[in-house]
Point group: none
Chain length 446, copies 2
């Protein structure tokens, strides 16, 4: 069963708001095993809403249209739906009473405009509103169906969950599409998108060969996601949720066997949550010293619930004299491996932490201390630490060389591409990834 | 001239990412006076991308398609475009060399997959990439045009601005579209959306009365934007860019006359860039001490180009002992006005700054030290500072009371609504807004 989502609102086309409703509905439909092959957005114009709905009905089994149910003159989805159904709009008196009562309980009289929200295309069924004034609609069109929902996200999600999803699942079952779609996001850092695709090419080939066996299939897609790394999305289609989950488990194991060193988490896990979990498990406290990232590493770590158990704090030493005073960095150049080393030790000491992580470098756009933008030194001081030889080369998506080891402090040098913001973001994730690898190696988990 | 935007990517349909590209392009097109009546999203499927492009070409004068230009097997926009044009894909050897050279400068060899990014539909013109590996395309289709752009937002926006927008403006001019649309975003903090709408209701009424006079019109929209505050977007339509700009200037003056105390900037200005400009002008250095915001304030400040001229650094004192050791906060409770005061003074001293700004509080979800989530104390230590009486009430969108003044340190107490992330973000902006107001009052500019 294929459902198309149509979002109505000129503000969407003008970019004044981003259409989060369609993304949310897409996720809900996929989770229910219902395909959604197209989304559309269209402005508050009668002819164009009609055209968008007819286009959607021609290429799908059903349509969910969101928005344009308000009380004002530019809310014309009801009229467009009536035109597509080729019927009249009739006023539903029980709705008029309901809306009038809603205004009365708030001590206000109902504006005449709101009467429009009680109009229903002949033959359509009302979906009662429980949070606002605009009811939804279920409109039969031959063997297809059109659902009309309000555009306010919290009203839309409530109405979809309560009334539309159960109806859709019933229809899908009666049409005999038993398949369930489930997906899993495998998160990686340290490989380019094309390098990852090349390493996983045998899996893609295997899926193409196996496609359609016993009604099951697996597909794989790659998604470059900036400082969140490259995501590998595995989607499984199977007769039951259990079977789809088994396919995902098997596929994740295959992916880890091929590129496991680059995998840092799955689904909702983030680089910072994975680091936090490891620190909790190992009973270690972390202190950070940041220069070019200016608090970005710390603020990502603080976003992890329960961070107070393992995060001591961070010294954002943007000014060179602050580096000297708070972190005991010797006077002299600060875009160096030596400065990163001193900062990591300084963070451990100043913040009373077991582990010290530091970043210094040049975000750009101009060079600094003769170093080009994108030059970053990451320092990591761990109790009894020693670098794992031959592994540093995979840590960053830019060029990488590993620095020396001294007194349990490791330094990683990065050359990151991109503008100021990108350099800062990639530096932050690269530093956290170094910490993750060392903690996992120590914990015996990676 | 009507341009349809088509976003390609199964991840959009599945709701794994929200399509921000289409919204951004919609805003750019509107600003250039180019209509956009429909947007579509479609998955990584050849037949369906072809169908979406044909649908778009049938109802528009041109199409911008984004995404599906990566190096992997699921990136098939090039193939779909060639099918719509009914031509072959041919390899462009100069592109092959360019991509190969890009990998070489990073010390890596080019995976075979990347050769696909050098393929061009016969008759299309390449748009060179300057940030990544996938070039864009301009594809003529009779008297219509199809632009192909990468889906990575920062590559897409750069390429659109550099190559597509000028081409579109030329085409629109040759088709004789005379009206120019310009818009300005007026950024506010400290008023609710409905409060702002109520205060600006006379302007909205005036626009409705004046609409259509001499081919000119002004419209106003409100957009709640989280930690960036509430944006008032004013759009003017006029025969020339000069006339549209004059309308915007006049409207901004009207808005400032009504709600000027809440306006902190326009267009690209941010709360942090405004604070940075004021600090530079006044020759002051800033030091920050953060607890619940965990580096968020510092990392926003570091994002301002030239921040090193006025930002000394930040102490992220997440752990109570760090507050005592680095900031000389007395032992005892830390979610208090006294702790905020000590932290502001400590930041000034520890970081060698003229101005000390501090934040301590409870992000949630659980209460801390008997204080409910959303309780935040902001401390501000300025040389010779004294609180401006009767002004604190407008600083936050939550409830606000101003604390005592002592030794040049002011403390503001906030009760912020929302979850952990929202409390942190609103606390950061509220603290920067307090600093902005005090600096502007001192500079005589606000």
């Amino acid at each position: 069963m294929r459902i198309e989502v149509v979002a109505v609102g000129t503000e969407l086309l003008l970019g004044q708001i981003v259409d989060t409703n369609s993304a949310w509905l897409g996720g809900q439909l996929a989770a229910a095993g219902i395909d959604s092959h197209f989304h559309q957005a269209v402005g508050d114009n009668l002819g164009r809403i009609v055209l968008a709905l007819r286009t959607a009905l021609a290429r799908s089994d059903g349509v969910i249209v969101c928005g344009g149910l308000g009380p004002t003159h530019d809310d014309i989805t009801r009229e467009a739906v009536a035109a597509v159904m080729n019927v009249e709009l009739v006023r539903d008196e029980s709705q008029v009473e309901r809306i009038r009562a809603m205004f009365e309980t708030r001590g206000r009289s109902m504006p005449e405009n709101n009467l429009r929200q009680a109009e229903v295309p002949l033959g359509a069924t009302l979906i009662p509103q429980v949070l606002g004034t605009a009811p939804g609609l279920v409109c039969p069109l031959g063997n297809k169906v059109l659902y009309v929902l309000p555009g306010v996200p919290y009203e839309m999600t409530e109405m979809f969950t309560r009334a539309v999803l159960p109806d859709l699942v019933d229809r899908a079952a009666s049409q005999g599409s038993p398949a369930v779609i489930a997906s899993r996001v495998i998160r990686t850092w340290g490989m380019s998108e094309s390098g990852l695709a090349e390493a996983l090419a045998p899996r893609v080939a295997a899926h193409e060969t196996e496609a359609g066996h016993a009604g099951s299939s697996v597909t794989m897609a790659f998604l470059a996601s900036g400082m969140e790394g490259i995501k590998v999305r595995v989607t499984a289609k199977a007769p039951t949720l259990q079977a789809a989950g088994d396919l995902l488990d098997a596929e994740e194991a295959e992916v880890r066997a091929l590129v496991g060193h680059a995998v840092f988490g799955v689904d909702e896990e983030t680089m910072e949550s994975v680091v936090g979990d490891l620190l909790v498990r190992m009973g270690l406290g972390l202190g950070v010293a940041e220069s070019l990232t200016g608090g970005l590493v710390a603020s990502r770590l603080v976003g992890v619930p329960g961070a107070s158990r393992w995060l001591r704090g961070s010294v954002v030493a943007y000014d060179a004299t602050v580096k000297q005073k708070l972190l005991a960095v010797p006077p002299g150049p600060v875009v160096t491996a030596e400065a990163a080393r001193a900062m990591a030790l300084g963070a451990r000491l100043a913040l009373g932490a077991d582990v010290g992580l530091s970043l210094t470098g040049v975000a750009g756009p101009d060079p600094d201390e003769g170093q080009p933008p994108g030059t970053v030194f990451v320092g990591l001081a761990m109790p009894g630490a020693s670098a794992v030889p031959g592994e540093a080369g995979g840590v960053s998506s830019g060029g990488v060389s590993s620095g020396g080891v001294d007194l349990g402090v490791e330094v990683l040098e990065l050359r990151l591409p991109g503008d100021r913001e990108r350099v800062r973001q990639y530096a932050a994730t690269s530093a956290l990834d170094l910490l993750r690898r060392r903690l996992q190696a120590r914990a015996g988990g990676g």
